[in-house]
């Protein structure tokens, strides 16, 4: 089952990329894309990628929508900080967050989400402690950020990937 999935999931992704690049759903591009995607996914097996479990696509969609809202909101906030609106004293700083999630794809998704949200940067990951170092541009309360990352992002990601 897991061996079957490690071929089919990347192959489906590659086929989707191929069809998007071709910009057509004609039988010719579907067949050629399917052959190429299967071959490439077969080669990928040689790299022995870590096994993934992706469940609950509905939760993933909900998370994506929330992240999109958050990206727009924090773009606005960071643009305001750069242009010096408000002029209140602002401190930036580091927050260390100990994570419960171990799934490698979940951690990668968390890194993408945190980086895609302006104002927060994933700086460092400690695999022995399973903790990450976050740098926040407008740091008011460190505990608040721990709560935001763990509740808003880590919990749904653990549902999806673990």
């Amino acid at each position: 089952m897991s061996r079957w999935r490690t071929i089919v999931v990347p192959a489906a992704g590659l086929l989707a990329i191929w069809l998007l690049l071709q910009g057509s759903l004609s039988p010719g591009s579907v067949i050629l894309g399917a052959i190429l995607a299967t071959g490439a996914a077969w080669v990928l097996m040689a790299l022995d990628p870590p096994a993934s479990s992706f469940r609950r696509p509905r939760a993933a969609l909900g998370l994506a929508a929330r992240v999109a809202v958050e990206v727009v909101r924090s773009n606005w906030a960071v643009a305001g900080i750069i242009l010096g609106r408000g002029r209140r004293p602002r401190t930036s700083g580091f927050v260390r967050i100990s994570l419960d999630m171990r799934a490698p794809y979940g951690l990668a998704a968390l890194a993408c989400i945190i980086t895609a949200t302006p104002g927060t940067v994933w700086v460092e990951y400690d695999s022995s402690e399973n903790s990450m170092l976050l740098h926040v541009l407008d740091l008011i309360d460190g505990e608040e950020w721990v709560r935001i990352i763990k509740e808003r992002y880590e919990a749904p990601l653990m549902e999806i990937f673990e």
């Binding site: 773009n75 260390r96 993408c112 940067v121 700086v123």
Partner: protein, 143 residues
């Protein structure tokens, strides 16, 4: 013979607005590189251009070329996906390099690696390494 002249107004206006928004965000991000104080603050600024900025430009591109070619043009989605997936790699590389430099220099502004280690600070270890080095120097001179 400008193909843009044939674009209906209801496509042209949102396209122009999205392009302006994307360009404006990229500009503000670049301004942030100039205005923000420390390296770790400056690293936040360009993410404006790589998130909502690029999303606006890509949406404008999809809208414009879909209207121009009268078929859905969607391959810009791929650019967006690859931007989102690859930006953290560069950002982390830069941030970790800066963190490594600051820790080596014994800066008080950056946190130590976890768990909070009980190793002596750089102030205490520095004289040791100096002594070792000078000993080695002496040995070499003696030979």
């Amino acid at each position: 013979m400008n193909p843009a002249a044939d674009i209906p107004l209801w496509v042209a206006v949102p396209t122009a607005l999205l392009l302006l928004l994307g360009a404006g965000l990229a500009l503000v991000g670049s301004l942030g590189l100039l205005r923000l104080g420390s390296f770790y603050e400056r690293i936040h600024a360009p993410t404006l251009g790589t998130t909502l900025g690029i999303a606006s430009v890509l949406a404008a591109s999809m809208l414009y070329f879909s209207a121009l070619q009268t078929r859905p043009v969607l391959h810009e989605i791929l650019i967006g996906i690859f931007m989102v997936v690859t930006t953290p790699v560069t950002l982390m590389l830069l941030a970790r390099a800066a963190l490594y430099r600051d820790r080596t220099e014994g800066s008080r502004d950056v946190p130590l690696p976890s768990p909070p280690p009980q190793r002596p600070g750089t102030d205490a270890s520095a004289p040791d390494s100096v002594i070792v080095q000078s000993g080695a120097e002496k040995g070499r001179q003696g030979l």
